[in-house]
């Protein structure tokens, strides 16, 4: 049991943490400005340093936050649908399905570039349907989902690397999706991401109740008047949308959709009405942290946020697997 006070405290501390991290991220790099310079440069008078930061650093910071929030909520929703705390859009292949399509579009149909997010969404859906149908045998075994997911993930990732190599790694667009590099992102990318992510996040608020009911037995939820199959489809589509759009712009980020919901459950409990909004905050914080660490650790070189997440997330995933034997069997 987590008291309401502790939940509120978690929200406040994470929000403050996100704000501090934001200021720090804005000031990380060769140009530095004070918060007051930043404020006046943004809203009052022109300042060339602030203008450069606004054009180069702001988009990536906001993209990292939105991508993190989207991926985290996608994880929460998939875990509710599959009743599996180890479901994650990265691990079960949704992200790599989406990025594979994004890579194909970027490499071979550059004129369709504006459709990339929607096409990535379709790619994510196909990967999800594959995993869902192949791992369903009158119910989901947590292990089977992960195993089928690993296979689908490997296939998509392999094809993606093949495309990248076959095109001589010459398309920066392709490489940036493959490597989940958000260095070169612009306000246009942010806009693309923002539209879909905001739609997805708002939609996710409407299904929090259904997510809660799915945690009951599959026979119990219908006896409360809920159409379980329909709810599963709706929630899955929202989850895949969030993960795919994020992947199309940010690239595939592994483990984020796993780690953030897990920590969030420890801090605010399993009620989705609280869990979803908190995961938005914590997801934004986590990916921005990963990106900022990647920018500072080996400065002037950059390590991509995806790589940072993998390095942190890999061991964490093993830790969860070991723990899950006691809790989720």
């Amino acid at each position: 049991m987590i008291s309401t006070r502790k939940k509120i405290l978690s929200f406040v501390l994470t929000a403050v943490g996100l704000f501090v991290l934001f200021i720090f991220a804005v000031n990380t790099g060769s140009l530095k400005v004070t918060p007051s310079e930043l404020f006046s440069g943004l809203f009052i008078e022109y300042n060339p340093d602030v203008a450069t930061i606004y054009d180069l650093r702001f988009p990536r910071i906001f993209i990292a936050m939105l991508g993190g929030a989207a991926t985290a909520v996608s994880g929460v929703l998939l875990q509710a649908v599959m009743k599996n705390p180890l479901a994650d859009p990265g691990i079960i292949g949704v992200s790599s399905g989406a990025s594979l399509v994004a890579v194909i579009v970027t490499a071979f149909f550059p004129s369709l570039f504006f459709l990339t997010p929607m096409l990535a969404f379709i790619g994510g859906l196909i990967a999800f349907l594959l995993v869902y149908s192949l791992s369903w045998k009158g119910g989901f075994s947590p292990l089977r989902i992960i195993l089928v997911g690993v296979a689908v993930n490997a296939l998509c990732t392999g094809l993606m690397s093949a495309f990248n190599s076959a095109t001589g790694s010459s398309y920066t667009g392709v490489a940036s999706i493959v490597n989940a590099n958000i260095t070169q992102k612009t306000w246009d990318d942010f806009q693309t991401l923002a539209v879909y992510v905001v739609i997805g996040l708002i939609a996710s608020f409407f299904v929090t109740n259904q997510c809660n009911l799915l945690s009951l037995e599959d026979k119990t939820a219908p006896s409360l008047g809920m159409n379980v199959t329909r709810s599963r489809i709706v929630i899955s589509v929202i989850a895949v949308l969030l993960a795919s759009i994020s992947t199309a712009v940010v690239g595939a980020i592994s483990f984020l959709g796993l780690i953030v919901p897990h920590i969030a459950r420890l801090l605010v409990g399993s009620n989705h009405k609280v869990l979803v909004p908190y995961s938005i905050l914590l997801g934004a914080f986590t990916l921005l942290l990963a990106d900022t660490i990647g920018r500072t650790v080996a400065s002037p070189y950059e390590i991509s946020a995806a790589v940072v997440m993998s390095v942190i997330g890999g061991p964490f995933f093993i830790f969860l697997l070991r723990r899950s034997k006691q809790n989720y069997a």
Binding site: N209, N212, S223, L224, G225, M226
Partner: protein, 258 residues
Amino acid sequence: MPDNIFEIKDLSFSYGNNRVIDGLNLKIKEGKITTLIGANGCGKSTLFNLMTKNLKPDDGIIFLAGQNVEQMKLKDFARKAAIVHQYNTAPSDITVEKLVEFGRTPYHTMGLSPNPDEDREKVKFALEITDTEKFKNKPVSQLSGGQKQRVWIAMALAQDTKILFLGEPTTYLDIRYQLQILRLVKRLNSEFNITVIMVLHDINQSLYYSDEIVAMQNGKVLSQGEPKEIITSKLIEDVYGVTLETGEIDGKPFVIPV
């Protein structure tokens, strides 16, 4: 004569080639406690799942107060009949009160309640009558088996229905909690006129607490009626395949199950 709340006509259902319900006809009276009994595999659980919309019949129709159950929306059905299944799970950190509040779901639209006062009132009633109010702020996962079962019944009662289905409500409980549950069921029926339809394994508890017994065999109704009218050594032998003596204590029929 009370009206029939359920009327089942020529019902059939198969799992693959295995015909579990075979042309079954049955009427269930309103305001009574009706218990389905029968040997393992006789089809009573399947019938229970068909009546509660968890399965769809291959053939035949189930009427609930004149309406075809198969064509009713889940939500409409959930406002008329509440179901406590044998096996239940809840998130480990959910409190008793929050879980019982789930029982109000059939009255909500898009997760929003049109009448929060009524919700509060019905939840309070359900907690009180099942004697679970004293631990309403405790996580369900920390309760004993008997307490948990009462909480699941409370959730069903919060649905505020005239019909209550109970699937083997006493399984896994020791005798004290079994009686607690059965006496609660009796009280719900006599004080609040709730029609109870349940599946029980214990033959004597079925006889003692039911107004009507439905004895099933091979996917059909073998015999139906008041306990003392239908219970004979012959019926027990037909239903369970064992010879047991029957007797009477204070006008109530008993079977000696050894």
